[in-house]
Amino acid sequence: MSIAEKTKAKQELDPRARESMERAFRIPRARFVVGVVVGVAIFLWSANGAQFDFLKLGEGAANMGEFVLRMFPPDFSKIGLILALLLETLQMAVVGTVIGTVLSLIVAFGAASNIAPRWLYYLCRWTMNIIRALPDLVIALMFVSAVGLGPFAGILAMTIGSIGSIGKVFAEAMEAVDRGPIVAMESVGSSKRQVIQYGILPQALPLLTSYTLLLFEGNVRGATILGLVGAGGIGLELTTAMNRYDYGHLFAMVICIIVLVTIIDQASAIIRKKIT
């Protein structure tokens, strides 16, 4: 068969497919129906297993309201301590984010299919999967046992945790860039490093920055939780206040955390807007 004949044969549409496409209403494909049924079944099975119950939530709403009322009024008498701990939390988040971002970026280069060779791609993807599977608190406990109580353990936990989470989205941001400029770079004889530096990174930069800011916001919130296992930050003080039923102090800390997260969120929005 000549090229012309083969090309023509490829251009023709199967009559049955054509008839199906012309119909206004089509019977859903069997696999779509099966997919929906399986999806609903999995959801109901999970809701049952997880004891998901809206009625129970309704019945307990009064208790929740009582708990919230107990937190009023907020007690700012230890504002100095709260600010010092918040500052420590913020510092942990800054250091954890910077080191975490650098390491995530390195791993992401290996985990981007348009950059790395196949063997490195799978190695990096599996490494990130394993890290993501480990709960942050377990990672924090590992580092607390290694370097002792304090913010240093928290920073290390944040850094490792970042590779699992943000490394994956970094890699996907690099994979999603427009291929055109990459083709142009390869066409001028650029090396792999130059293609990444001038073709991929500038395109991915807005997304990388956005994810880094998201990581920072997450690390600030995460640092409050890591404190629960003695890994520094305001978390330990939060737990202590709860255990002592010191709800006024607890509420003051929650308000301060909300203010800090809001400021960071607003600053992040401004930076994102400038970059994109």
Binding site: A4, T7, S191, Q194, Q197, Y198, P202, Q203, L205
Partner: protein
């Protein structure tokens, strides 16, 4: 048509800079040939328009010239390079000497116009540009090239802020930054309005003359090919069906390129 097929495209005494002989390209074993026995010479200072409908093999021919398409048989000689048998390092060197212009411009929209042009000098820039800097001499040259394509006043602006025609001129400046021995322009005006199309094609032809290099430009619009080239080559289903000097061709003679014969038969 037969006469056109058999007639030598050009009678010249100088050596071609690019010589393609019996080129066959196939992307995979279960696919038909994309190029089937293509012969083509490109000479210094001439603009050759490559006509053909989508899927006729125009882009593949351009890719074959830079080692981006798998050559099944035949030869592609570009200067000192035997393209079918190049190692990775030699391929990079060949590409560094071949300016390419694309339909979608392929600029990095966030980078400045100047930086986009400077990326044309990446080959051989070594580790010096690892920090994102380029040699002063390269910068001077990039600005001169932007002047040449008439867009130096936009040098500091991000490429994405430019119109399509302006972006294509930046892409041409980037190609010139390579000091190319040949320029390949793959449908460079397909995204542009008619006026800008004429401007860009005239610029490419001017470059071919002034720099004394061949420019191979693939097009869809026959009148543009007739107005802005020295020679026309028509591809259909991977084979050259028309080849001749532009001055000796007219739209009717180019009809076979776009299947017009088939429609008449039907």
């Amino acid at each position: 048509m037969t006469d056109l097929l058999m007639r030598p495209a050009q009678t010249r005494t100088d050596e071609p800079l690019v010589r393609i002989r019996d080129l066959k390209v196939r992307y995979s074993d279960d696919q038909p040939l994309v190029l089937d026995g293509v012969d083509l010479d490109l000479f210094r200072g001439e603009t050759v328009a490559l006509l053909g409908s989508s899927g006729s093999g125009k882009s593949t021919l351009m890719k074959a010239l830079t080692g981006f398409a798998p050559i099944e048989s035949g030869s592609v000689a570009a200067g000192d390079f035997d393209v079918a048998n190049l190692q990775r390092g030699q391929l990079r060197r060949l590409r560094s000497q071949t300016g390419q212009v694309f339909q979608q411009f392929n600029l990095v929209g966030r980078l400045s116009v100047l930086t986009n042009v400077l990326t044309g000098s990446l080959y051989g820039a070594g580790a010096a540009n690892m920090l994102g800097t380029f040699r002063s001499s390269d910068r001077v040259r990039a600005l001169e090239l932007l002047e040449r394509v008439g867009i130096v006043h936009k040098a500091g602006e991000p490429a994405r802020s430019l119109s399509g025609g302006q972006q294509q001129r930046v892409a041409i400046a980037r190609a010139l930054m390579q000091n190319p021995r040949v320029i390949l322009a793959d449908e460079p005006v397909a995204s542009l309005d008619p006026r800008m199309s004429r401007t860009v094609l005239e610029l490419l032809r001017q470059i071919a003359c002034e720099d004394n290099i061949p420019v191979l430009v693939s097009l869809h619009v026959v009148p543009l090919a007739l107005a802005h080239s020295d020679r026309i080559v028509g591809l259909r289903y991977g084979e050259i069906v028309v080849s001749g000097r532009t001055s000796e061709l007219d739209a009717d003679q180019l009809a076979p390129v776009y299947d017009l014969d088939d429609e008449e038969e039907e």
